[in-house]
Symmetry: C2
Subunit: 375 residues, 2 copies
Amino acid sequence: MIINEQMIDDIALGATVLGTGGGGDPYSGALMAKVAIRNAKNPVEIISLEEVQDEWMTVPSSMIGAPTVSIEKINSESQMLVAFEAMEQALGEEIQATFPIEVGGFNSLIPILVAAQKGIPVVDCDAMGRAFPESQMVTFYLDGLPSAPNTLADEKGNVVTLHPLDGVWSERFARPITEEMGGSAAMCDYPMKGHNLKRSALGGTLTQAMQIGQAIRAANKNGENAVDAVLDIVGGTRLISGKIVDIERTTAGGFVTGGVIIEKLTKAGTQSQPKDVYVHFQNELLLAHKGRKAEEISQESLLATTPDLISILDHETGQPITTEQLRYGQRVDLIAYPCDPKWRTAKGIEVAGPNYFGYDVQYKTIEQLIQGERA
Amino acid sequence: MIINEQMIDDIALGATVLGTGGGGDPYSGALMAKVAIRNAKNPVEIISLEEVQDEWMTVPSSMIGAPTVSIEKINSESQMLVAFEAMEQALGEEIQATFPIEVGGFNSLIPILVAAQKGIPVVDCDAMGRAFPESQMVTFYLDGLPSAPNTLADEKGNVVTLHPLDGVWSERFARPITEEMGGSAAMCDYPMKGHNLKRSALGGTLTQAMQIGQAIRAANKNGENAVDAVLDIVGGTRLISGKIVDIERTTAGGFVTGGVIIEKLTKAGTQSQPKDVYVHFQNELLLAHKGRKAEEISQESLLATTPDLISILDHETGQPITTEQLRYGQRVDLIAYPCDPKWRTAKGIEVAGPNYFGYDVQYKTIEQLIQGERA
């Protein structure tokens, strides 16, 4: 499938939904991706995971660091390419395909830059099926694949190659290096052969983002409910339709932490919804429970929790709203939907479940939570 | 010159003098070096800078991080070797000789470990002629030689390869990586061909340390004044013979910062000495001035300043005292002596002069300061 500009816009829109409030604003990534495909010698292709050859070397292309900083800093177009080619050098071989490490936010579109410059395809897959804040939160880590080597590059010409013991050590080294590089860096990690990628990556996630984007656009054009259109694709539930009545935000340790309170709009069809919902976020929207206070979090009040996905969409247009864009008075729909089954294993919950993020509740799937509500 | 255990002890003793209060305690390094030469297949040699072949690849072996942590952590004997062999891999060639990056403290003896394991010689040179706290404070940086690539290794198996733009960027990346590695790491930087080493390194510094160690030992054996013996070798001046009456110490940002007050012992031969001296330290002893307060620092009160060397020796035995070992009531001699001329250039003073360390005085050589005192 040849990538065109409309597809880039649709991926950007859908990736903002799957970014669950975090992962950065992909629209500037979309601009860069459009320039990249215009300047490419050959058409840039998205290929399916099945089309990847077993013996290919494949490497994700991504940015690490504060997304807001990324947007301002990535004007050095070659930065991502430097990290990618440093990886080729560290491996001592050419890379045959790239892909997003996360289809959620900014990073969904970064591989298109590399693919256009290198004349290689983008694989329709990722390693999260959403956005997560730390680099070990990938299916590759769950599957025990090595993170090493890693390469990082800034826009000034500094390059760092890491040989960490595993993905957690990778995160520990990469984070302060990114700080020194100015808060954002191009990064490649988890280089792997095609047969491992096919075993461990989540396939079809880029086209899913594209479908979500197309559905929102089509619904708005046809006067249909865009939130319903998204729910159809992701298999999700509307937790509350309401008004944002309060936002608490703290920026510390490279994270935007806080919560948002949504109060139910009284109207037909909302009888079964709670009166108000508190949504906790740490860059991403991580946990929603009934009530108006962060302290009301409990197993009983729980409505949805990471690793399942939680998104806030504009009530009228279905447009996803990132945590930075949340404002008092917005009319929104809070939706939740299942993560990939890999995140629901014991290891998946350990790596990215509520306890990892400091919430003292047990993971329940969104399906279980809805079931309990109905019972 | 084949290295034996006595030479190791003498280097350790002399390197503590040249460590100017910092650089870490070299005695545990001496223990490791002795084990290393015992276990080596062949005798380990110190060769002169002149014996280095122009086309040889040479690389220093050193530890970065808090010296106290280094001592506890380097029980993984192979850690230094891992960093060294990672450098060979990054360069794509074998290394023919190693040397200390600083002859001052702990790092003076680390190259012996690598030399013993690799069967290569240690070159009688370094890049400071003393100890300094930051990795760009080397003659190689003054001479514009590239720092890249750098390699770092911890005792767990993590390896990092840096390609920094220069020595300042190297320091910026290496410091937080060392933090993540547990506060101390094996590091190789400034790989260079023999012809560059001969141009930029300071020759004869290891044997100078050895001579200082021998002289202290001989003086004590023969009932001579050991401080005088040291002064003869380094061409130095006794600033004050006195008693330590106060010490201020703060540990912050990986540095031990503070000052020590030395009060003159009234006796024959001390008439020309000031009544009391305040010595500022940041790991190393960096600046001495007349008075009992840090605030009395001024161009007029200045007695000696970095990059010239300042050491505190036991008044009776000439044993060097590190900043950590300073105690109330000790009888000490404070001595100062010239740094290598490379540190007295505009660039040298910019990189390691008093202003760099935050002292608001102009650099004057110890010779100028003594001259002024006599005038």
